[in-house]
Amino acid sequence: MMTRFLWLFLAPSLLLAADPAMPEKHRALFKEHCVSCHGPEKQKGKFRVDDLPLSITSVEVAEKWQKVLNALNSGDMPPTDEKQPASAAKADFLDDLANVMVAARRTLGDQKGVITMRRLNRREYKNTLRELLGVEINVAELPPDGGSGAFDTVGSNLFMSANQIEQYQALGREALEEAFAWQTAASVTKKLHYEGETTTPKVRDFVKYQIDARERAQKWVNAVDEAARKPENKEIVEKIRAEVNNNGSRLRREWARIPGAPNPRTFGFDKKGENDADLANDSLGAGWLKYHEYYIGMPGVDRGAYLGVQTRHPSELNVNYIELLVPFDWPVGDYIVRVRSAAVKDAPVERRFLDFGIHARTGKVLNTFEITGTMENPQTIEIPLTLTRGNLTRENRSLFLREKGSWDTNEEGNRKRAEAVKRNGIGPELVLWVDWIEIERVPNATKPVPPGFAALKLPLDDKSPAPAAVELRAAFERFATEAFRGTPPPAEYVDRLMRLYDARRKAGDKPVAALKETLSVVLASPMFLYLAESGSPSFTPDLLPKEEAGEKLGVKDEKQKTLSGPELAIRLAYFLWSAPPDAELRKSDLSKPEVLAAQTNRLLDDPRSEGFLTAFVHQWLGLDRIDFFEVNRALYPRFDTGTKVAAKGEIHETIAHILKHNASLRDLLKADYVVINRVLAHYYGIPGVKGDGYEKVSLPKDSPRGGLLGMAAIHFMGGNGERTSPVERGAWVLRKLLHDPPPPAPANVPAITRLAGKVLTTKERLLAHQEDPQCASCHRKIDPIGFGLENFDAAGQWRTEESYTALDANGKPDPKSTKRWPIDPASAFHKGPSFTDFFSLRDIIDTKSDAFARSFSEALIEFALGRPIGFCDEPLIDDLITQASKKDLAMREFIHALVSSKEFHTK
């Protein structure tokens, strides 16, 4: 925290203060504007400022300063009829006060290095069940963790309730059911093959039907019209015409009232209980007949299917996607999906992408592939897929293939379809072709038995005789020991488990059912749910050298305890895997530095480290904003669901790449390479991706890509899906990259209303912030950085021009008001260097890698130790940076320095 004051722009008087304090110079503002009412004589509102200490050392003093901050921000004080402070002085005052308040809150809320015992959070709980039982279960019904800005590992924010205890037992039961199902289905094989051309006869028949129905409908219409023309029907027909506004099809709906008009059913129109005339009227239009005729005229429809657009309701005819329902009686397990596919010769590059996902209507895209195969030489894609007991309903077990972005939403699909019709009179050209799709179950017989089952050593079906009591007791003991991460269960506890099992058996349960029920209780027990650390049994505080126990930690707390070997292994595993330690880690002597380092590297190399990376990166960089809103697809048609998924993946894949190769943290500020897949390669216009996944690609010299500030998802987050938000972006850069977080947005600041309804450039609009001291105090730092990033549009594409169109009184865009302007990225840091464009802004930020390293270190410590950062952590943060600096801020060095620190070894 202190170092936040070291860098860049803050008042130097804050620099050496041990406690957060307002600089002495601000007393002047008090004296001139406040003391006459809030001083020793008058004490309006029983509030005095003259005796307010500048140094904020207690909650009471902090509350008083907060009142001052609020009153100034809202403009309530000084009262409007009194003399007002000069804008610059007020802005400086507010700037300092807001920052001092943030620092004060932190000091006053400092946990002084104390780590609160915590339960497993939702992710860890899920991973722990996976490691124990070999299954993935859906834990969405558990309440979400974290919130309030802290990491989801911070124990003091992780709570427990009655409902949760019951949910844990229910989820544990579910996990056991799933695990038993996997074990019993271990050797089952299944395969389902679907040929694309299955669609073709359906389309052919539909074309025939449409032509025929149109003819029949015309005949019926003629017959109704004829009856309507009869002179004797004149009166009734006129009456109906008046009712239906002289609308032809609505008149025909009333055929039954017109004597002599035939029943549509006699022409073959039966709408199953609804008005048959509606069906006849609809058939007259033969909607999308031309598109369907175009479809069956395509080459290759006898060998496969094209992926087109939606025309009719999918239950009637579907040429938009291929859907494959995994049979309901297929067991849980690992599956592999194969797709043989091609793109037609003249398919445009942007239309060569295939989305694979589950449930076409809700459109959950799992993967996107670029189709490089040709009609002569199609390619086969392989997609691994795990089906669990959660994949029970049609909604989550029907797989689909669709052209990327062709019908993500009805609105978007309709728009693209209408554009094509305008162009060619038919609809979007058919370019993606699927020969077949198949799904096959991969037997798990060769996988190692999960440790929970290995510990159980009991029959998993009721064909074998029920286990004897001795056997059972031993099995419970072994299972609980495994579940409790190596701690053997107390004997009384096992007694109770035995009694539970017996009660279930007496109540009529078969042995396996009683077993599952009993084990589910283990999975709701606190020794499973909590990561308790009691310290090494042999440890006494005297053994720890004083300077280490006290001075280095900055706290004199003799209760600091060294972790026992198993506890350290657990802490390490939950840090780097968000999962329990495996057998090898439990065996390792982590008190030896070289063993600890080797194990740390092994853990980071293991695929389970994804558990750390995904969760940490998401929370550290605040990526939840990516899912907050949808992009406006009319403005950004290329940023479809598949692209958004890929863009989000880029952040994680890039950091995974850096971690894997122990590259420098600096690469996130500026890099000459990107880690992208084919979807992004196309989106960014960067050639060179060879495989189907993410890979490192070198950038051309003048590319704005490379590093976090070159990523589409980061810029998408810094907007609302429609327009960019320089404020959001600037604040994010200050918060995450420059380690200079702006104070939280103050409440009740009067809005700037004089610009409402005016058509202005973004910069003009935001510069209004500078007029008002309340706004300027923060925005003079935030906004300039945002201006420098304006070359990226709300979907992260590079642009040189922007436009704005005001809405008219009816809320519709008014084209007459449209204003266009070239992007002007030049600006300057507040009291800092200026920049001319994005590239020079990026270069300045790149020189601040120490600040970035600090931001990263703090996040890492908080995540790993499960407690908020405090002032006492300053030496530790410095250590991490010093260590890492020796290797050019290589990412793993931070982690090594952290896991070998005293803090990581003590509780």
């Binding site: 104390v114 609160t116 015992m117 915590r118 969405a140 019904e141 558990l142 309440p143 979400p144 124990g155 003091s156 709570f159 427990m160 309730s161 009655a162 409902n163 949760q164 205890i165 019951e166 949910q167 037992q169 239906v244 609505r250 709906r253 009333e254 209980g273 609804e274 008005n275 509606d278 449930h359 809700t362 959950k364 909604e395 989550n396 269960p489 107390p490 009384e492 506890y493 109770r496 488990l497 009694r499 539970l500 009660a503 279930r504 109540a507 209780v521 709701a524 027990s525 606190p526 020794m527 749910l529 909590y530 308790a532 009691s534 209760k559 939840d624 899912d627």
Partner: protein
């Protein structure tokens, strides 16, 4: 068992009482008069909405002096005793066929990243957590006897969703509901007790584990583990409540057992009688009823399919007529229920109507329109403005109305769903 009893006594006094002395039982067994009649909360939901043009009063005629629109005419005799509230919606709702799924929750189905469905607690369940402590049923969920999809209600097992957003089951049709309320529990008492004992045995086991763990912990961590102990205590409290009612005879039904096979209009009418009977016998104080719409239409001779009816805009004609007729019948049924609420007397002589807060409406206006959700509020229980056409600013959270009802019946929730505060327009 001994351990747990000691544990309970040391922590709360109420649940350590012998079962037969519990409040609910004593009142029931001796028919002693309670001091003041309890508050009740009732939600009646119909899936496919109403006819926009003829159900809503003119938004220019706000307050008491408004002309009753055609669709509400059957309610004319109660005009001073209900309010129509316009301008409310659930901003996250996006499914045109889900008239009830999020009606009482205001949830965002996509709130959980990666999940295609998410819901949160419904307003009735918020109330049940408080009003449900002393009655046999904390709440009662009633459903139409037909398939709820056909009536435009959307996913869910009833209109109620629990604290973690999971669906709560409901009783299908009047016969099932009647039996639940007034027939003897067929599970042998011994078995009921055994099931309870087993649940307690599970608690004893995890408690044993918690205590063993507690021994090695420092002060801070013990405090953290206390949350777990508190959780166990809360489950105990619930079990203790269940136990109180084991073997307590069901109240005598104030109405005869309904006929089998009732559908549509007749079914709703009888269900309203059951709702009344449930309140009269104080079996529960919180009720929801997911009304049938599809069979309502058939029962009054309408052949238009219900979904099609709600799309009357494209064709008008018989679809519009069906929609309007549906409004009339529903209003007529509601008027009948209000008659009975007014006629039923509480133990202190006041009208049941004065202690009930009742909301009647749907998340769907008509077609796939999810704004201006039709909302009719009645009953004196929540102390809100009655007899008015109330027009809230467009797109006010519907949950503001629910929050206000909750406050009115004494449940002091801070917020509900996406509420932004109480609905000041209906507060007296």
């Amino acid at each position: 068992m001994k351990t747990r009893r000691r544990f309970l006594q040391s922590n709360t006094s109420l649940i350590a009482l012998p079962a037969l002395e519990s409040l609910g039982f004593r009142r029931f067994a001796s028919a002693a008069t309670p001091a003041a009649p309890p508050k009740r909360l009732v939600f009646l939901g119909f899936g496919w909405g109403i006819t926009t043009e003829t159900w809503f009063p003119d938004i220019k005629q706000t307050g008491k002096d408004y002309t009753l629109p055609e669709g509400l005419k059957p309610l004319a005799r109660h005009k001073a005793d209900f309010s129509i509230v316009q301008g409310l919606w659930n901003k996250y709702s996006n499914e045109g066929h889900w008239g009830s799924t999020m009606w009482l929750t205001g949830a965002n189905r996509f709130a959980e990243p990666g999940q295609t469905f998410h819901n949160s607690i419904s307003a009735d369940q918020v109330a049940a957590a408080k009003l449900g402590m002393d009655t046999r049923f904390a709440s009662l969920q009633l459903n139409g006897s037909e398939n709820a999809e056909a009536s435009g209600h959307g996913p869910g097992l009833s209109m109620a969703w629990d604290v973690s957003g999971k669906p709560i089951g409901g009783h299908k049709g009047p016969v099932e509901a009647f039996h639940r309320l007034f027939s003897k529990d067929t599970t042998p008492i011994e078995q009921q007790k055994a099931m309870l004992a087993q649940k307690r045995s599970v608690l004893d086991t995890v408690m044993e584990n918690a205590k063993a763990m507690q021994r090695g912990l420092g002060k801070n961590d013990r405090a953290k583990l206390d949350e777990y102990f508190q959780g166990i205590r809360d489950i105990e409290t619930r079990l203790a409540k269940d136990e109180q009612w084991i073997g307590v005879p069901q109240p005598k039904a104030p109405i005869p057992q309904p006929q089998e096979g009732l559908a549509g209009k007749e079914e709703i009418k009888i269900m309203y009688d059951i709702i009344l009977a449930a309140m009269q016998t104080d079996s529960t104080r919180v009720l929801t009823y997911r009304q049938p719409v599809s069979t309502l239409l058939t029962s009054i001779g309408i052949k238009v399919a219900p979904h099609d009816m709600s799309h009357y805009h494209s064709t008008m004609g018989e679809k519009l007529a069906a929609s309007q007729q549906r409004d009339l019948v529903q209003s007529e049924l509601l008027a009948g229920l209000i008659d009975k609420l007014k006629a039923t007397k509480e133990a202190d002589g006041s009208r049941l109507f004065d202690h009930v807060a009742l909301a009647y409406g749907s998340n769907i206006r008509t077609e796939h329109n999810l704004d201006n959700c039709p909302t009719l509020l009645t009953g004196g229980g929540a102390g809100i403005k009655l007899g008015q056409n109330i027009v809230a600013p467009k797109d006010t959270p519907l949950c503001n109305a629910w929050l206000t009802l909750l406050h009115g019946i004494g449940v002091n929730a801070e917020r509900h769903g996406d509420s932004s505060g109480a609905l000041k327009e209906i507060v007296m």
